[in-house]
């Protein structure tokens, strides 16, 4: 679906921000891109719909070279939801805001109306339909921004830091929504430094650090690699951290919840 071949990129007058990135996001996969602040995650995903063009190397979206296609035509396939909703909200009403992309892509009037209503209902935004998006809370504004991309049903959905500023319940709802999309056959890419969220929900991860890929594969395997995490400035998920602590105490629990609980109980019995 998305293929990145030896991608190097730098902004005018800056050093290389991406240094030889190669990766593949297969159709219908659910992938996290993890990395510390400034690792180059946002810069990388801006290549997925052609907003940025490689300084060297190649990015293919559905087999199309991003250098040869307009952002508008690529964006129709790859929906990118930006980190900060305030960088895109502009319309008078939530309805208008969500309809914006649909109108740009030339959907007929009836279809626009149908889709906007549907997505507003799905994201529990329908009661704000005629309100100004600027008057909503941060979590709600983020959902409006998400709705405004989801509504045109791109094949690939890329979300930049979707969990920042969201409480636990909202995160769980987001996870459910993304899982539904994956089940429907969409490809979902989540860019984040929220290790906990990734460990709980996303099966495959790519770890980026200082513009290079430092690991890719099964999330739980990557996130239990102590050296890798230390090198890439990421904290392990709490469960993993507990396991490590336990094994340093001489206990070697296997990674299943029951066994961890058993090991913890054992540790408690041993301590006076």
């Amino acid at each position: 679906m998305i293929e990145v071949q030896d991608l190097w990129f730098r902004y005018p007058e800056s050093d290389y921000v991406l240094k030889g990135i190669s990766l593949e996001v297969p159709r219908q996969s659910y992938v996290a891109i993890l990395g510390e602040n400034g690792a180059g995650k946002t810069t990388l995903v801006k290549h997925f719909n052609g907003l940025l063009k490689p300084t060297r190397g190649k990015v293919l979206v559905c087999g199309l070279d991003t250098r040869e296609h307009s952002v508008a035509s690529l964006a129709r396939r790859v929906g990118l939801v930006f980190q900060n909703p305030d960088h895109q909200l502009f319309a008078n009403t939530v309805y208008e805001e969500v309809a914006f992309a649909l109108k740009n892509f030339g959907f007929p009037e009836e279809e626009v109306k149908r889709r906007v209503e549907a997505i507003l209902a799905e994201l529990e935004l329908d009661r704000y339909r005629d309100r100004s998006p600027f008057l909503l809370s941060m979590g709600e504004r983020k959902r409006v921004a998400l709705a405004s991309v989801l509504c045109y049903e791109p094949d690939v959905l890329v979300l930049d830091e979707p969990t920042t500023g969201q409480d636990h319940k909202q995160k769980e709802k987001l996870a459910e929504l993304l899982q539904r999309l994956v089940d429907k056959g969409k490809t979902v890419v989540v860019v984040t430094h929220d290790v906990e969220f990734v460990a709980d929900h996303i099966p495959i991860s790519i770890i980026l650090s200082r513009g290079q890929i430092r690991g890719q594969g099964k999330t739980l395997e990557l996130l239990s690699n102590e050296d890798l995490l230390a090198e890439t400035f990421l904290f392990p998920p709490q469960l993993t951290a507990i396991l490590w602590k336990l094994s340093k105490l001489g206990l070697h629990p296997a990674p299943s919840v029951e066994e961890v609980v058993e090991a913890m109980l054992q540790a408690r019995r041993q301590s006076p």
């Binding site: 801006k46 719909n49 907003l51 307009s70 952002v71 508008a72 964006a75 129709r76 929906g79 990118l80 930006f82 900060n84 305030d86 960088h87 895109q88 909200l89 502009f90 914006f100 992309a101 740009n104 892509f105 600027f134 405004s148 991309v149 045109y152």
Partner: protein, 261 residues
């Protein structure tokens, strides 16, 4: 956004950077007087323009200066074209080989060049003067601190704004906005989705900053103290004196008709 590059201060350690902002202002003033009040034709404008280059090289900001000028060239071209057409209009459209044609052409050219010279001069000043030093200079020149601060904060936020404009444009393009689509009016309308978020977030930011400043007691006492003061060094005196002397000499030569107008 490239036009703005000529306004960002770039931190470097060169003689131009070390000069007191007030000494640099003397220089800016001299060039301004010469290019507006003293000379009116193309040749002296070119000379004045060229005189800026060595200072840019010394301050190691030539590349940025050039990119500002590239932005300014558009406006200069407008100035030239409108002037030229206006003058041709007045004398009636004449053949390109007639002396009247040249008489219309040269002053228009001079106007455009004057504009570029002024841009280059101001640009050098801002490229090599930190906003903080500039504010301090304004304060020591008895401008109320509020005004000096307003000005430097505006300068400080130009790069932020430019970067933000880029992000907003990217976000809207990702939702299928095509800036180049449609007729003239449509194209102007295409910018609304970019301008609105930019303005809204600027207001938000202004509010945040105001709160942050008030919570740190900005304006609580009438008399401010300053952490450091600018001092006019010998090199500053020399630089200013040389600027004034050369300018005076040029004006004298001009008044006694040794130099063309």
């Amino acid at each position: 956004m490239r036009v703005f590059e000529g306004l960002y201060y770039v931190k470097r350690n060169t003689a131009m950077h070390r000069l007191d902002p007030r000494a640099k202002l003397v220089y800016v003033l001299c060039i301004t007087i010469l290019s507006t009040a003293v000379f009116h034709t193309a040749l002296p404008m070119i000379m004045l323009f060229i005189s800026v280059i060595p200072l840019a090289v010394e301050g190691r900001v030539l590349r940025r200066l050039l990119s500002t000028l590239r932005g300014g060239a558009m406006l200069a071209a407008f100035i030239f074209i409108f002037n030229f057409i206006g003058r041709l209009w007045n004398i009636g459209f004449v053949s390109p080989s007639s002396p009247e044609f040249l008489e219309a052409l040269m002053p228009s050219l001079a106007m455009a060049l004057r504009f570029l010279t002024l841009i280059a001069t101001f640009s050098i000043f801002f490229l090599t003067t930190s906003p903080d030093d500039f504010a301090q200079a304004l304060v020591q020149m008895r401008l109320p601190y509020d005004y000096a601060l307003t000005f430097t904060m505006a300068m400080r936020f130009i790069p932020t704004l430019a970067r933000e404009a880029q992000i907003v444009a990217d976000a809207q393009k990702s939702r299928g906005l095509e800036l180049e689509k449609g007729g003239f009016m449509q194209r102007i309308r295409n910018y609304i989705p970019i301008l609105v978020p930019l303005i809204v977030s600027s207001f938000r930011r202004a509010e945040t900053i105001a709160d942050a400043m008030e919570s740190r007691a900005f304006g609580a006492s009438k008399k401010r103290s300053f952490l450091y003061m600018l001092r006019f060094k010998l090199s500053d005196t020399l630089f200013s004196a040389i600027c004034i002397a050369i300018t005076a000499a040029i004006i004298w030569l001009r008044l006694s008709s040794f130099l063309p107008p």
